[in-house]
Every structure is written in structure tokens, then in C-alpha cells.
Amino acid sequence: MSTGNMNLTLKVWRQKDNKAKGSLVDYKLSEISPDMSFLEMFDVLNEQLINKGDEPVVFDHDCREGICGACSMFINGRPHGPKDLVTTCQLHMRSFKDGDTIVVEPWRAAAFPVIKDLTVDRTAFDRIIAAGGFISVNTGNAQDANALPIPKLQADAAFEAAACIGCGACVATCKNASAMLFTSAKISQLALLPQGQPERYRRAQSMVAQMDAEGFGNCTNTGACEAECPKGISLENIARMNRDFYAAKFVSEEEV
């Protein structure tokens, strides 16, 4: 099927279901093209497994263009592999060498239980958003969009925080499995915008409370999350979130 000349050894985490004990299983692949994406290399592996009568490796993926946030492989000890600012689906085999051994594991965090093989359950992120990651405006209640000018720098900063794709690499790489980068990105986006002010402090409190309830760890300012985030979400967001979280304790109840 492929036309390349790379030979690889894969060590892939296989786990039948949430309750089963998993282990790393070795697979040999040959004739891999450097122009293939990492997931296309997995397609080749799965095709071979199916043809042999084995069960293919289950992994999350969808858009394959780095934006949906579904793909989630921990490759050689790094979420989304060796390249900065790149998701697994946009990683290409030219980033590896012929003869390499590649270890592929799922995201590891208590709040992201493994479902099967490399697929984990990230619904905790949805519940954090449901706790307050929105502006309470029903459809049909909006004023003209240009009635509220927003300084470009402020709008740009909100956009940068909003670039989060919710993949969970921040949690996977954090030694405490903290979800603070994810949570703070949404809190920051809305706190930076005038539309987000009315619920600003209440939002910070309820999203942080949900984050804790899901079993994510705390932040110890290591910065691994920022280093590994495929969208370059900044650690500054965590500082903003903490500021709002603590400020919430000092503002009057009517404002929270």
C-alpha cells in the first residue's frame, strides 16, 4: 500500500476496556513513507491487523487537520509527539527516522479514564464548560454587533485564549494531571471581553469548583502544559484565572 522505505518498531498500549489490565504490545512496520501522517501510519498498522484477523488499535481522531481536538496520543513521552505546536494528526513520519522505536500510550490522568487502547474519556472537559464556560445570552437577545467596539488588542488576546481545541494534552503532560490551562483559557477568553463581565467572578468560581470535582490535580507552575499545548495557549491564562478566582472572594455577593 505504501511506497516509503522507513522501518519502524511500535510499542502500542493495548487495553480491552476500562476494567482490563493493559500492556504495551510490539508491532513491526515496514515501507512507511515519510510523507504519511502519524495517523496514516496507524491506518497501515490497522489494515495489517485486520488482514491478519487481529483487532485493530482503537484511537480517537476525526478532522485530521489539527482543529477538532480528537486525536490524543502520547508519543515517546510527549503528548502529540516530538514537534511543538502540532497535533498528532498533523505530525508526519518525516519527523522520525528509519529504524526508530516509537512508544504510543493514551493520555494518562485519573479524570480521563481509558475506554479502550488509546481512547480515553474526556467528558470531564464538557462538564467544566457546562459549569460556566459561556455567556448567558439566549438566542435573539443580541444588540447590533458593532454597537460594542472592543479594542483590537483585547479582542486578539481573547482570540488567543479561545484557540484551545480541548484535546487534553495539558492534562496528559502535567505531573499533577491538572486541567488549569484548559479551564483558564475559557475563563480568560470571556473575562477579557466586555460581554463576559456580568458573570465573570461567578464563572471563575463555578468552573474551578467543577474542575476540582472531576478529580484534576492542582497547578504547581511547572509550565509543561504551555510547552506541550499544540495551540500555544499561554500560562498567563492560569494567572488570570487565579486572579479572578481569588477576586471573587472579595467582591460583593451581588456581583458573583
Binding site: 500500500m1 483487532e55 478532522c63 487537520e65 464548560i129 457546562a130 459561556f134 448567558s136 479582542a155 471581553l193
Partner: protein, 659 residues
Amino acid sequence: MADFNANIPEGELTVKWTKLRSSMPLVNPANKRSIEIVVVGSGLAGASAAATLAEMGYKVKCFCFQDSPRRAHSIAAQGGINAAKNYQNDGDSVYRLFYDTIKGGDYRAREANVHRLAEVSTSIIDQCVAQGVPLAREYGGLLDNRSFGGTQVQRTFYAAGQTGQQLLLGAYSALERQIGMGKVEMFTRHEMLEVVVIEGKARGIIARNLITGELERHFGHAVLLGSGGYGNVFYLSTNAMGSNVTAAWKAHKKGAFFGNPCFTQIHPTCIPVSGDHQSKLTLMSESLRNDGRIWVPKKKDDNRKASDIPEDERDYYLERRYPAFGNLVPRDVASRAAKERCDAGYGVGNSKLAVYLDFAANTERYGRIEATKHNIHNPDKATCVRLGLEVIKEKYGNLFDMYAQITGENPYETPMRIYPAVHYTMGGLWVDYNLMTTIPGLYALGEANFSDHGANRLGASALMQGLADGYFVIPYTIGAYLSKELATKPIPLDHPAFVEAEASVRGILEKFINIKGTKSVDFFHKKLGLIMWEKCGMARNAQGLTEAIAEIQQLRKDFWSDVRVPGNINEFNPELEKAGRVADFIELGELMCIDALNRNESCGGHFREEYQTEEGEALRDDENYAYVAAWEFKEGVKFELHKEELKFENIKIAQRSYK
């Protein structure tokens, strides 16, 4: 036969929607609480509908096959969303957006629907900004706009190259808010596998829990499908890997007509195929055509590097053929022009199936403007390029990075190589003005329906339509139906129709597992894709289509006797999911070819080689084909054609010209 009436309101075009909206039957708040609505899909259309209906007080259940509603494929839309705001004071208006859309669709869309779309477009932008969607702004703090193909005004709102992501996250946050309040029950990793029809009305669905494999029955007074398009019938497309036709196809097989299935959009600017391993194609946003000029060498089989080809040996063929619109002609026109040049031997790159998209001229132009801003007078070329690259980077940085990552080439230094790829499907479930299919109580929204884009969709109009349908159309139009359903009590899930539907789904799933053939699902999907691309792709002809129909029928037989689906039904089994989707794609592929063969004209994205002007432009036949082809599914994978006459009362139907 099912009800087949477009139900277009009476009256002047400009007041149809306002009048209908104000006279539509309502459901009072107390009654809304006891009415249940099933929404399938959580993209722009599904999420916005689910959130808005819940805000209004209905009990909503929303389903998506992804692990989170935030991952629906709307998220990947790059370039922008149109709205007739006229913020640029360049002569835009609701009428002009309406006109551009009808003309862009090559006069194969319904006037009334398109006008309503243009009317509500402005409210969408207001709503999104109120939600905190960070659309691009100018230094004055107001919203910025850019140009898209097929228009001469700047009406496209955007958020860098991530407009779909930001709009979807806005709709997702509205949806999550309702989930948090318990007004929407969300079912992630669930796939709809059947519509349950009771006494002629849609009353619920059978969904499979993709993790446990369990089949579930869900009742709804109405069922809404916002399940997206079917571009993956071509195997290679810009759609996400999971995008599929299954929800729409199950509805079709239960009686919902399928409208204009052959209308497919081939997007002109995608990264070319690099090898057999290719699993999907990546779009380079149409917004790049604002600043990129498209060219090929004037000499055939020119193997020089782009930078070694002097200016006067380059053919800027779009600017040459279409001086009025230049690089911003609609997608179908741009795609065919690229194919024409490559087929004639002027393509570039190793495969020769690519053209250049070159930013050099505009980089320098931007640099000159920047130099003036920095008080640098008479700047040299190097300064201009340096300053210009910063501007380009700010506008398109993420797209350039994506291109570099996929191709291994640096687009800041060398022109991009691009080629057309399947991107969007204008066809879809036939719906009336109220977005109801031919099954009462079953609605289709967004890309899943056929209604607004005719034979070709203009750029930045898909996001507009998805959100228009979900936020501003269905919340009103569904009242007309539900107001008559107040007496309907929730139907018990042990009703024979639910039992039967579940048994038939189980039967199909068991069949897949029990075939135990020799070929993977992907093997058949790739084969189907190749037939579709070669014979029902950018150019079609009667002979090819006839062959394709026979080949697909054979492929269907082979699939059902030789596919190998590993694992079991009662477990997380992505191969089983794919098998179901490919089985449906195979049936759909045949219908697309039948539809393309039936339509003896060229229009928009449907180009029949037998019907073209001397200059190679699409040649419509308005006398015989100014209709929507609505196909009815018949026993044994047969299809019967129904026609909905298209009446143009407000626009003079004419040969489309972008010259």
C-alpha cells in the same frame, strides 16, 4: 406518496418570512415543557438548534458520534461567515446577498429560502458576538471583513483561519449551558442508526452507544437531523474521517426524499494528494484567494522551480479568463479552470496535478503600505517583502503553518501548490420552507438539507446557513408542527415500531460481523471513492456515469459478501461503525450517479461534458431542468424521481458570467 409541497408562504419575497414568523402557531410555555425533541448532530446547525429550543422551554435530547459536541466537523471551517451587514459601506444589502447566492448557485436554489437566509444573516453575527465569539476586529474596535469568491463586496466576518472553530465553540457553549441546567440531555459517542416512524410521523430514533454497543430507543415529538454532508462518499475529501451520510440515508430509506444528490462542491484550493496512503485532504481557505494569485507556467511540462519562471512566462489563467472577478471567481469555476490547465499539461509539482497559489505580489504590496506607515520612503524590495510577510503571517499564519507541516515546504518562500478536492455537498434531504422533510415531524438542518445553495455554494455561506437554520429558522417553523402535537403523549418505548426498528438495526449489525470476508471496510470505501472521483467528480459524462452505476452495483454485492468486520457488536468497535457508514455511502453513490445522469445540463458544481459553451463554461438548460430532483427510495435500492419546479419571480435567470 408523501407530502411533497414546498410550502412557500404567499406574498412578496421580502415579506414572506416576516409575515410567516408573525403568524406561525405558537406553543405556550407550559406545553413546551412536555414536548420532547430529538436533535441528531451537534455541529453549527444541531448545537444551535438544540440550545435555542431548550432556551425556549422544549425538552431536548442531542446526539453526536464524537466524544464531545465541540468536535463536530463545523469546527474545521476556516475562512469565514457571510452577513449582509454592509459595515464596509460597499453597497451590500440583504437583496445583494440573496442575489449573489442565487447566481452563485447557478439558479438551482429556491428564491424564498435564500432570501430568508440573507435576512437572518445579520442576526447571526449579533448573536455570536454577544456569546463572546472573538471575531476579527480593526484597531477602531469594530468588526473586520474580507472578500470571498463570487461577490464584489466585503461581507465575510472571520476569526483568523479558525472561524468555524470559534462559531462552533459559541454554539457549543450555549448548548453546554443548557446541558448544565438539565434542559438538554446530551448523548456523546452515540450514532443514530434508524428513524422510528409511527403512523406516518417521525417519533424517535434508534441510537447505538458506541462504547458499549448497546442499542437505545429514544422518543421525540419531532426529530431534527443536523448530521452534515456526505462528501466522504468520495473517500478522499476535506471532511472529517467520521463525517457520514448514515443519519440522512436512514431517513431517506424511511421515506424522506433526497434532493439534488449529485450537487457536490469541489473546492479549488486544497493541498494535493501525496500518495496512496492519503486518508483525507486538507483545505487551504478560500480567504487565501484574497491575496494569492493563481498561475501555471505558460510552457507545457515546465519543470523549473516557481521562482525561476519569469513573470512574463506565467499564465494567471483566472485573471485572464475572468477579468471582472479574477482570482475570486466562485469555487466551481475556479476548480474547473485548474483541472482544465492540468489536463492540458500545464500542471506543476511531481504529480503535475497542481497549480500555484502565489502570495509574492501582495506580500510586496502590503510591505509598501507598512513602510509608509513606518515613515520609510522609497523602500527597497527586500524591506517591502520583510514587512509584507509580517502582514501575511498575521492574516494567514495558521494556514501557512499547516501547509508547511503537511507538505514539508515553506509557503513564505515558495508558492503553495494546490488542487481541487471534494469539500461540501449542496444536495441533501429535501425539505420544505419549514425545513421539514417528506416525513412529517422529521426536519433537516444545515448541510444535511439541500435547500439554499443550489448547484454551487459560495464561500463563507455554509456557516451562515447552519446557524441560520439552527438559531433563527427552526425555532419558529417547528411551532407550526408541534402546536398540533400537544395531545400526543410520549410513546412508550416498547411500541412495536420501536421494537421493530431496533431489531432491524441489530440484524444489519449482525450481518456485518457474520460476513467474515477477506477485505477491510476501507478497501471498499477507497474503491467507491475512486469510481466517484473519476466518473462523478469535477467532470461527468453519460458514458462514465452509466459505467459507474454498474460498477457501484457490483461493489455493493462484493461488499455484502466479502467485507471483514473484526470484533463484536456489544463493544467499542470503530470498524463496525465504518462498515455501516460505507454500506450507506455505496447506496448513495449510486443515487448520485443516477441523478447526475438524469440531469442533462451543466450547472454549478455539476459539469456534464456534453453540455458546455464554446468557452468551456457550464451550459444550463432552464427549459427542462429548472427543478429540484427529489428522489424517493424504493424497495431493492431503486429510486423514483419527483420534481419540484423552481420559479424565479424576483431574479432574471441568466447565463452566469464572471468575466
